[in-house]
């Protein structure tokens, strides 16, 4: 097993370097659009890293993570709007345009939402879990569409990108570097969790829940904590993406978005540290390359996805770094 492991580590390093080097080169060549594209990749990857904690480590197939992605986005949008109009938030609290504050709010909001959603959903398993997480996301989606205060279906523009102390977030490259930094932080956290005792218990709960309960660890609580952490990370990614697009709308909460997040993970390689990164790179490049080539790009995207599920079971990383290792 040892060679495969180091091979995966090499592939991971190459991916991390590629994602950093391409925008740097593009920026030097004056092609800022590719910097934006890379930022999008980094943020989708971060969202999927969050989902990967629940899905990859815990085996919890959440079909409703768009709810947290969107909630995070709305946290950024609502804070920016209140600050822009100089209106206080609830209870006379001042709105902030400082990203660290916004991320904290996004993470807290997602944590608070994920706790009851997880508590109810985790009573179910298998298909029921997939469907109940979808139902909760749909509830929030319909609420966002019809709630008039923050734009409803039209969405909420962020007129000025929120700020980060010491960094000019308005320039594409520095915003990319910020997002890249957050992605690396997310990956470090994922790795730390995976290799911690908590992660071991979570993976044990996926493989054999009964045995885990037999040694006195309740799988429910472990899974709930994982679900909440997972939601919080995805929420922070949502806040960053809203700032990248300078816009947030209910389409970030739609079931298509939940599906896309799952697609990223499987495309890259489920449960692997860099699976979401590889998946996001591949997905965004497909979308971009096919989209400028043909208006039937969704047909070809579908065929490619189908090909990956049927013939490349370990995803992209499975193809280039060898079989999945678990346990």
């Amino acid at each position: 097993m040892r060679p495969a492991l180091s091979r995966e580590a090499t592939v991971n390093a190459v991916l991390a370097l590629l994602l950093l080097a391409i925008p740097l080169a593009a920026s030097a060549a004056g092609q800022t659009f590719y910097v934006t594209l890379a930022t999008r990749i980094a943020l989708l990857a971060l969202a999927a890293v969050g989902l990967n904690i629940a899905l990859g480590l815990g085996g919890l197939v959440s079909f409703g993570h768009a709810a947290f992605f969107g909630l995070g986005g709305y946290a950024a949008g609502i804070m920016a709007t209140h600050a822009f109009n100089s209106e206080p938030l609830l209870f006379g609290l001042e709105a902030s345009t400082s990203m660290p504050v916004i991320w904290l709010v996004a993470a807290l909001a997602c944590g608070v939402a994920a706790l009851p959603i997880g508590a109810v959903s985790l009573r179910t398993t298998g298909v029921y879990f997939i469907m109940i997480t979808l139902a909760f996301a749909q509830m929030i989606y319909y609420f966002a569409i019809s709630w008039p205060a923050y734009g409803g279906e039209d969405g909420l523009p962020i007129y000025v990108r929120n700020s980060f102390p010491g960094i000019n977030t308005a320039t594409p490259l520095s915003y990319f570097l910020l997002c890249y930094g957050m992605l690396i932080l997310g990956l470090v956290l994922f790795r730390f969790l995976r290799d911690s005792r908590f992660g071991a218990a979570l993976q044990a709960a996926r493989q054999n829940a009964t045995r885990l309960s037999a040694v006195g660890i309740a799988p429910f609580q472990i899974r709930l904590v994982a679900f909440v952490i997972s939601a919080m990370i995805t929420g922070v990614a949502g806040a960053l993406l809203a700032d990248l697009n300078r816009f947030v709308s209910p389409s970030m909460l739609s079931w298509h978005m939940s599906g896309e997040l799952i697609v990223l993970i499987i495309l890259g390689g489920k449960g692997r540290l860099f699976g979401p990164v590889a998946g996001a790179m591949l997905y965004v490049l497909f979308e971009y390359a096919l989209g400028s080539y043909t208006e039937r790009w969704q047909l070809f995207l579908g065929l490619i996805l189908l090909g990956v599920v049927l013939f490349a079971r370990g995803g992209l990383l499975g193809l280039i770094a060898g079989r999945e290792r678990h346990g």
Partner: protein, 306 residues
């Protein structure tokens, strides 16, 4: 609020429920027998509607179109099963979700390629136009009554088929013990193709019946798909009885919620506000009901296996 209006709304709920049952029965059957989640079920519904609209426009007969919808959806189902789906039975739900998600993209863009981007026309047949009187002075559309009738016939037919026929026996065997039917020497891959085509045919039938009421266009299957999933999860996945019960529950709750919630809020809010808040609550209602049911019965109301 008059009794006639109330009866009419209950019938509307029932009709929506019956339509959902046609979708949900196929989904739950496929899950029960093969253990497969099929997100592309809504695409088969769309195939049925497009086949019916095209054939009805060419022949001038809705009935030929209806037969074509059944045939086209069942055929599309069989082809997809043989090419793609049968490779997914041994996989986990995650792979199934992804592969059938990909199928949605392929079906949608493929249909648009074949039929163009503009919605198609399909009307109800002359025989079923008009309305019948209701007790209390109201009236109800004949075509919608006919849909309820089709639903009852399909439900009874499914029950008889599963309880009385050889195919039904194999399906029951497949639901309870997959290894056993292989041991009995039943050609399992043919059985799976037949079951999948049966579910697809029912979805196509639903698509054609509803296509005459609404717009035949790409993407029409997705809202119905989500509702059908809500139905089978409420009813208990794999249970046809659960699908029937869940479908009618969802149909009635959704219709009555849209009708009664804004009126109930009139006691508290001005009319415009009541309409807005009531509408928003009504759109979330069935998901709230589903979450409540699963919170207390995590495997649905009629869990097939426990």
């Amino acid at each position: 609020m008059s009794t006639a209006l109330l009866i009419e709304q209950l019938l509307n709920g029932l009709q929506l429920g019956v339509m959902l049952f046609l979708m949900a029965a196929g989904l739950t059957l496929i899950f029960g027998v093969m253990g497969l989640i099929n997100l592309a079920h809504g695409s088969l519904y769309m195939v049925g509607a497009f086949a019916c609209a095209t054939v009805a426009a060419a022949t001038g007969s809705f009935w030929i179109g209806l037969a074509a919808s059944l045939a086209a959806a069942a055929l599309a189902g069989a082809i997809v099963e043989i090419l793609v789906i049968r490779r997914l039975y041994e996989r986990d739900h995650l792979d199934q979700v992804l592969a059938t998600f990909a199928l949605i993209l392929i079906f949608s863009e493929g249909t648009r390629w074949l039929f163009g981007s503009f919605p198609l026309y399909l009307d109800i047949p002359p025989l079923l136009q008009g309305a019948v009187p209701l007790p209390g002075g109201g009236q109800y559309q004949l075509y919608r009554l006919a849909i309820i009738g089709v639903g009852v016939v399909v439900a009874v037919g499914l029950y008889l088929m599963i309880a009385r026929t050889r195919l039904g026996m194999r399906i029951r065997a497949g639901e309870s013990d997959r290894e056993m039917i292989a041991a009995l020497g039943i050609d399992i891959s043919t059985l799976y193709t037949v079951v999948f085509a049966l579910g697809a045919g029912m979805a196509g039938l639903a698509g054609a019946l509803v296509g005459a009421l609404q717009s035949v266009q790409v993407g029409m299957g997705e809202p119905v798909l989500i509702l059908a999933f809500v139905v089978i999860v409420i009813g208990g996945i794999g249970s046809i009885k659960g699908a029937l019960f869940g479908a009618i529950l969802v149909g009635v709750v959704d219709t009555m919620g849209r009708f009664l919630l804004p009126q109930a809020l009139l006691f508290m809010l001005p009319p415009s506000q009541a309409a807005l808040v009531g509408g928003a609550l009504a759109s979330m209602l069935i998901y709230i009901v589903m979450a409540l049911i699963l919170a207390f019965r995590p495997r649905g109301l009629f869990a097939a296996h426990s």
